[in-house]
Symmetry: C2
């Protein structure tokens, strides 16, 4: 077996090591265009900011180590330029010497990844304007950062931009994030990003939504980023973080099938349209676990597992890749935002029926010091209760709950299963009713009809049309410090004695701070003959949708 692997970072390096474990006799050549293999992609922003202090930490392994330990033929600074499928060979260019040569293969794995997109606006290539993909980029950006950059403009409000924002702020750099959409972190639903928007403000990051760069030019402060709104931002460092594109040119040129967004098409065994060629990592199109649709989700975990699975198939172990569910997490200082499975907007776009609940529990027992509030959003099938997706935002413990739900999604569990999860509880770590149980209870109650619910963002037209009586069941103090416009206030503890104040000709939507007292109020009203619903997730959820209300 002669196995060639093109690309030596996550998927490629995993594939190469796995191949050697499975076969001592195989000839394995790993081509990498850059000088490094298997570097810590996801750590690059943290080296920029000095959080990771030593560059060598980013080198998960070295070509030398791969050679000595795995007897891999590692060829860095080597670009695979052409695949000749008919004669099963590739044309390789040594980037240092310029020499070109052919290398034959029995099987080939393409793991070329995805490249950050740099738009063709004027000035996009000026010195001081970067994308962040590899150690070379990182070195250059870091040199500027430690060299005294005062202002940075980060174009795009995705994961990498916000990670870079944290690291720029840590270096005392005045930082602006510019995002063309009306929200940061587009895989999330907009309201769930609100706590991150607030954290950006708290940390002094300027966020400009609905805007994009039209051009970049030299200016009095080094660079000047001109936005579509006419605004001009001075900066000495500009980084594009507006998404990545699969580096599939090699595959396209070889006539391999690719999807509409350029990702290489593979079957369940990660085999391309040529049975001798496999592809893994950010360069491929994967199956979305929830929808079954082809999607492109650049993530390190799936890339690593794909490398392993492709090799297993090559060596006669017919494993299947199950698809990607898009589990991801952003850390921004002490805040975390994580998600898994489908978002509400993806479900809407696909016209897939769903219901959703919001809960706002603390990450561990409220009676133990240091409890931090998080918000969990759970999306599920309205008929079967199957969990479709979840998003969490808060501080400590958000990662745990999203991981727990990620497993539930992979297992095909329902919200009724979430109610019954038995998770580790002691006051430092959780609650007798864990946040995930709570989300399950609310969702389960909703589906069982105990707990009819109305989404907070659709109240307004019904209130305006007089179809809905909005009832705030919190204390007068809570009500006074902010409530949903149009609400009347009867605290839940007084509700049973004041039912006469409520209309019987309209539906009553009750709400509290997070949904729990509203739930009890709804139960009281329903059993007293009222038409009643609970406003899902209460006032806290309303504030996610209407932060300035």
């Amino acid at each position: 077996m002669k196995l060639l692997i093109v690309g030596g970072v996550a998927g490629g390096a995993s594939a190469a090591a796995r191949a050697r474990r499975l076969s001592e006799s195989a000839q394995i050549i790993l081509f990498e265009r850059g000088p490094d293999v298997s570097f810590a992609n996801c750590g690059l922003p943290y080296y920029v900011g000095g959080e990771i202090a030593h560059r060598e930490k980013l080198l998960v392994t070295t070509p030398e180590m791969l050679k000595s330990r795995f007897r891999l033929d590692v060829r860095t600074r080597s670009s695979v330029e052409v695949i000749d499928r008919a004669s099963r060979k590739v044309r390789v260019r040594d980037l240092d010497s310029g020499r070109e040569y052919d290398e034959s293969y029995d099987k080939l794995i393409i793991a070329t990844g995805a490249a950050p997109f740099r738009p063709s606006i004027p000035g996009a290539d000026l010195p001081g304007v970067f994308t962040l993909r590899n150690l070379h980029d990182t070195d250059e950006i870091r040199a500027r950062v430690v060299g005294g950059v005062k202002q940075a403009v980060l174009l795009g409000g995705g994961f990498i931009s916000l990670e870079l924002a944290e690291n720029c702020v840590r270096q005392g750099i005045s930082t602006t994030v510019v995002e063309k959409n009306d929200q940061v972190l587009t895989p999330f639903d907009k309201e769930m990003t609100q706590p991150i928007v607030e954290a950006l403000a708290t940390r002094g990051v300027t966020l400009l939504l609905g805007q994009t760069a039209e051009s970049i030019q030299s200016g009095p402060e080094g660079l000047e980023v001109c936005l579509t709104t006419g605004r001009r931002l001075g900066a000495q460092l500009v980084i594009f973080g507006i998404g990545v594109r699969p580096e599939s040119k090699l595959a396209v040129d070889a006539g391999l099938e690719v999807g509409p967004r350029g990702g290489i098409r593979v079957n369940g065994h990660l085999q391309t349209s040529d049975p001798n060629i496999y592809a893994v990592g950010d360069v491929i199109e994967v199956k979305d676990v929830v929808s079954g649709d082809p999607v492109q989700v650049p993530l390190a975990g799936p890339a690593n597992r794909q490398g392993r699975i492709a090799v297993d198939n090559i060596f006669g172990r017919p494993l299947k890749y199950r698809g990607t569910q898009g589990t991801a997490i952003l850390g921004f200082f002490d805040r975390a935002a994580a998600l898994t499975g489908a978002s509400e907007k993806v479900l809407r776009r696909a016209n897939r029926p769903f219901r959703k609940v919001y809960v706002h529990p603390t990450h561990h027992a409220g009676y133990y010091p240091g409890a931090e509030v998080m918000t969990l959003k759970l999306l599920f099938d309205p008929t079967t209760g199957r969990v479709l997706g979840a998003q969490g935002v808060g501080g400590v413990g958000v990662d745990k709950r999203i991981d727990v739900i990620a497993v539930a999604i992979q297992a095909g569990m329902t919200v009724f299963d979430l109610e019954e999860l038995e998770l580790a509880y002691s006051p430092q770590f959780g609650s007798a009713k864990d946040p995930v149980n709570m989300a399950g209870f609310v969702a389960g109650g909703l589906l069982r009809g105990e707990h009819p619910q109305m989404d907070v963002e659709v109240l307004e037209p019904d209130i305006a049309a007089g179809r809905l009586f909005l009832l705030d069941v919190r204390t007068p103090q809570e009500f006074a410090s902010g409530h949903i416009p149009g609400a009347a206030n009867i605290p839940v503890d007084e509700l049973r004695g004041r039912l006469g104040e409520l209309p019987r000709d309209r539906r009553i939507a009750s709400y509290c701070q997070v949904g729990q007292r509203g739930y009890l109020a709804t139960r009281i009203l329903l059993q007293s003959g009222f038409s009643a619903v609970n406003v899902g997730g209460g006032y806290k959820t309303f504030k996610l949708f209407r932060p300035s209300a």
Copy 2:
């Protein structure tokens, strides 16, 4: 519907609140012998040590709140003495007035919990000798702790004792833990408690294993605890934490079925042998999720869920309790030890076939600062790969991995499923290959035969009998700083060139620090025609079994 609930803490209080949510018209009476309801049981040790500074934090709810919000008839200081099943009424004693009266019921829920066991040794009732169950106990213990106790003896090495040990140490008290078994935390396998044993030592707690108190007497330092070994320990505070017994006398007297350890027998609907009587919480026998056997597992999470489920059944919603898997966690300062499902000793006792793996990954990417090593032990079915149990010990992130595996167990997942879990990764929160994935990879490889493995604790006889050649594949430096007795050293990177030094007449067991290089060595040896196995979990696992070797 007239519903009586006996016991107002976790299961009872949950049941009462749920009952009101389901029915506004039901008459619900909650009897509680003590003065408090629904207090934070699991927080008591932390109030003793002042970690929870305010006593009112421990009162999750009050009788007044339950009355005003849930219109519950809460009767504290009320002891239910007799159940008259034939006429469906109970005899209640008001503990303050001494008055006795009858109360009839349609349905009755017994939620009397479990009481800490106080053995009948001489002096067990002396002033200064306690058990910890309720706020009254807590107040008395705390009064002593702040009153200047210098030495404390904690009898029993279970969860509560170790939590109390932390809190005594925080108060500067010289603390000794006495445990009659040869390990602390008996739900865990012994080797997995080793890091906790080390943490106890580091924090200055004296641990005496294999010993127990024979008597307690007054002594020069207040109290003197006399151990079976003849040792005498001076103390001003002695607390028994040697397990709990279900408080099922009420049920036994009423002729309800109980199990061999006194737990009330219930069916899947949590109904006792009398269809009008349900029982929930620490007083019942539950079905073990993994083995299906009846067990007694006093845990707050299950108690809360059971309260809910019993009530749902009473109000015509035929839910089933799925059983308990024993998910639990101990925090001891910055250390955590958690488990879920079956332990190795439980599986051995049940003669159930299993395999196991140990992994020692870091809690997040190793290249990001602050990565803490944890040890995970995974137990699984040797034929199907079904996950049977897991234990984790380390620092941050142990809770997350055990929760993830707890979900996998509930979903009936296999180790092959753990390989494919897609968990949230960014360097502060995890790794591209999460610790749970790693455990899955090792276990999956073992079952697929890629990776034959030998358990570290059974090496010795085979080495002594000359049937095994033990090969340490770490670096000479690592070897020199400690290795398994009898091992030869060939670093993995030199192995391919030194195969001639290895015997072909014996099986070769290779090991490294955690198992990964040993795995590669095993693959190299197998493919070179040797009989080879990897020593599971490497030298780090050996040290768990032989800490002083």
